[in-house]
Symmetry: C2
Subunit: 369 residues, 2 copies
C-alpha cells in the first residue's frame, strides 16, 4: 500500500460557524489506494482528538504505523486494494492543517490565542472544500471514532448527499458534561500553567517534559478512555518497583501508564492546538442549530451504522442509543444499524479491540443499500 502525503492551500476565506473568518488556510492529508474511474470508491476516515492524517501504513524508516493501520490496508477491513481512502488533519490541528500555531498571513505572526474558536462543523466544511478541490463529489462511506464519529455524523447532517454510508464508533450526538469535565483539567491546566504565558509560550521552556498542564490534562483524558474494570485487568494494584511501597515516589503500574502517556503526549502535541480541539469537542451538539435532535437528523440520507462499546465511560452506549432511537422515530429503521459491542475496555476499545467490531465495518462496507 502506497501512502500519498499531500497538502492543499486555500487562499479564499473560510467563514466559520462563529461568524469569524480565516482569510486563508491549508489542509494536510494522506491517501491510500487508487480512485477508480467513476470515483465511486472513496472512503473518508476522520481522526480523533489527537490523531493525525497518518491513519495507516508506515513511513520509510519509521517503526510506528498509522493509528488505524489494523483496519486500513490491502486486504484489510477497509481494503485499500478496492477503496480509495483519504484522511486529513483536522482544522485546529498541529500536523500540517491550519491551527492556532499557524502563521496568520495578515500579521506574519502565529495566531496563538487570537485563533478563532472552531467547531466540528468548521472541520467538516474544510474537509468538504478539500474534496471539492480534488474533484471528489461523493463518498462510498465516511467513518470515524470518538471525535471522528462527531465529524462523520456532522458530515451526514450538513452534507446529506455526500456519503452513502456513515459509520460512527464510540460517538455521541452531543458532548456530555462528564466529557466536558475531563477536558476541563486540560483546559485549566494549559491556560493557567505559568509557562503557557497566555499563549505566548517559548517551546524551549518546556521541551523536556512538555507543558505540565497539558500532560495532566492528557492523563485525565487517558483515565476517561479506560474504565475501572479495564484498569483492574491491565494494572491491578501492581507496583513498578515493590521496594517503593512506603516511598512517596513508589509508583503503581497504573501511575506509570499515565506518566508515559501524559508526558510523551505533552512533548509531541501543541498545547494551543489541544485547547482549540477540546473546545470544539465541548461545543459539539448535533441539535445545536436545530429545533431538536430529530429535526437535525431529518436531513440525513445516508445509511447510519452506530457501533457503541458497552464499557465506554466517556461516550456511553445510551448516548448512541439516543441517536438510534431518534433515527427510528424518523422512520429510518431500515437505514439504521446499531450494535453495542460487548467490551469492558472503555472508550479506547475502538483503537484496540478490532476483532470485536471489524466485521461490523466489513458488513457496512459490503452490503448493498
Amino acid at each position: 500500500m502506497v501512502i500519498a502525503q499531500n497538502i492543499e492551500y486555500f487562499n479564499s476565506p473560510l467563514y466559520l460557524e462563529s461568524g469569524r473568518i480565516l482569510e486563508s488556510y491549508n489542509v494536510a492529508y494522506e491517501t491510500y489506494g487508487e480512485l477508480n474511474a467513476d470515483k465511486s470508491n472513496l472512503i473518508v476516515v476522520f481522526h480523533a482528538l489527537t490523531g493525525s492524517q497518518h491513519a495507516a501504513g508506515r513511513y520509510d524508516g519509521d517503526n510506528k504505523t498509522g493509528w488505524w493501520d489494523s483496519l486500513i490496508g490491502d486486504g484489510k477491513t477497509i481494503d485499500t486494494s478496492k477503496f480509495f481512502v483519504i484522511c486529513s488533519n483536522i482544522l485546529g490541528g498541529c500536523n500540517g492543517t491550519t491551527g492556532p500555531i499557524s502563521v496568520n498571513q495578515s500579521t506574519g505572526e502565529p495566531y496563538r490565542l487570537k485563533f478563532p474558536v472552531i467547531t466540528i462543523s468548521d472541520m467538516v466544511r474544510v474537509q468538504q472544500n478539500l474534496f471539492s478541490r480534488l474533484g471528489l463529489k461523493n463518498a462510498y462511506a465516511v467513518i470515524g471514532g470518538s471525535l471522528g464519529a462527531m465529524q462523520a455524523l456532522c458530515c451526514s447532517i450538513e452534507y446529506p448527499d455526500f456519503a452513502k454510508r456513515v459509520i460512527c464508533l464510540a460517538g455521541t450526538s452531543a458532548t456530555s458534561p462528564w466529557a466536558i469535565s475531563f477536558n476541563k483539567i486540560a483546559m485549566d491546566g494549559i491556560l493557567n500553567d505559568p509557562l503557557f504565558k497566555n499563549g505566548q509560550y517559548d517551546e524551549d521552556a518546556f521541551k523536556d517534559d512538555g507543558l505540565l498542564g497539558l500532560a495532566l490534562g492528557r492523563m485525565a483524558g487517558h483515565i476517561s478512555f479506560l474504565s475501572p474494570h479495564s484498569m483492574r485487568r491491565k494494572f491491578d494494584r501492581n507496583y513498578v518497583d515493590t521496594d517503593g511501597l512506603y516511598e512517596l515516589f513508589g509508583r503503581f503500574q497504573a501511575e506509570r501508564y499515565l506518566e508515559y502517556n501524559g508526558y510523551s503526549f505533552s512533548r509531541r502535541f501543541d498545547p494551543l492546538s489541544y485547547l482549540y480541539i477540546i473546545k470544539a469537542m465541548n461545543i459539539f451538539d448535533a441539535a445545536r442549530n436545530y429545533e431538536s435532535l430529530k429535526d437535525s437528523f431529518s436531513s440525513i440520507k445516508a445509511k447510519v451504522y452506530l457501533i457503541a462499546f458497552k464499557g465506554d465511560l466517556l461516550f456511553l452506549p445510551d448516548e448512541m442509543e439516543l441517536m438510534r432511537d431518534t433515527l427510528y422515530e424518523l422512520g429510518r429503521k431500515s437505514m439504521t444499524e446499531f450494535v453495542c459491542v460487548d467490551s469492558d475496555y472503555g472508550h479506547d476499545a475502538f483503537l484496540v479491540e478490532y476483532e470485536k467490531f471489524d466485521f461490523h465495518i466489513k458488513k457496512a462496507l459490503t452490503e448493498e443499500i
Copy 2:
C-alpha cells in the same frame, strides 16, 4: 448540641507501618454529646480524604456546619442526646493533627517532604492512642465513608475488640487502579508544579488561587466523586453565560462547578498534606499484610454493615460485594449486613443523599447484637 474542641499531645514515639518513627505527635478532635457512666455509648466517626474533625454542629459566628451535620446531632440519626461522638483529624492532615507541615521537634523546621509516608493503619493507631489516653476502651460503633470507611474497616481488623459495630459507606478493601489514577493527577500536579519547589514552597506565592497542581488534582477528584448520569442531571450542557458559546473562555456549568471546587479547595488545603493522604489511600489494601483478604477479615469480631451506592464510580459496589462475600466465606453471614443503595449520584452520595441511607445507619445503631 455542644461542640467540644480539643487537642492531645503525645511525647512518646509513634512507630509507623513503614518502620519509620515520629518522635512526637498531636491529635486534634471534636466530641459531641456526653459519655455515659459505663462508657458504653461511644461512636467514632472517621472523616474522608479532605474532611476534618469538624463533623457536626456550627462554630460560633460560622455559617457552615460540620461535614456530616445532617446525620449527627440531638435527635438525628447519630443521636448526640444518646451517644458520645468523637471525630479526630487524621494523621497527615492539616487541621491540627500532626502532618507534613507540622514542625519536627528535633529540627525546629516543618517536616515537608521529610515527613514519613503514612498508611491507614497508622491513622488508626493514632486514634487508638487517643482513645486510650481518654480512657475509651470500647466503642458502640465506628463509622465512616470513603477514606473514613477504610479507617473503620482497618480498625475492625487490627483492633477487633474495640468496636461492636463497624459501618462502612462507599468504601473498598483495596484502592483500585482507577482510584489511584485519579489521585495521580494530584500527585504529579503537586510534585511537578514549579511553585511547589520540592515541598519548600512559599504559601504566599499561590495564596490567591492555591497551587494549580492541587486545584487540578482536586477537579479530577470531583469528577470521580460524581458520574456521567449525575453530571447530566446536575449540569446537562448548560452554559454559565450563553454569550460565551464561541468564546474560548465561555464556560459550561460543569466547568464552573469544577473551578469552584478545585480552587476553593486549593486555597484552603495544604498541598503536602493532600499528597501524603492520597498516598496513604493508594497504599490501602486490607489484605496487604495477610495471606489473603479472607485471612485479613478472619480477625474481625464486630458486626459489619456495608453500605454501597449503585452509582459510585470511584469505589464500585462490586468492591463492597467482595467484602461481603469474603465475610460470608468466613461464616459471618449473621454478622454482616450489605445494602446497595439505589443511587446514581456517584461516590458523593454518602455526603448528599441522606434520605436514601440514614435509616440503614439508624437500624445498625438500634438493633441488638
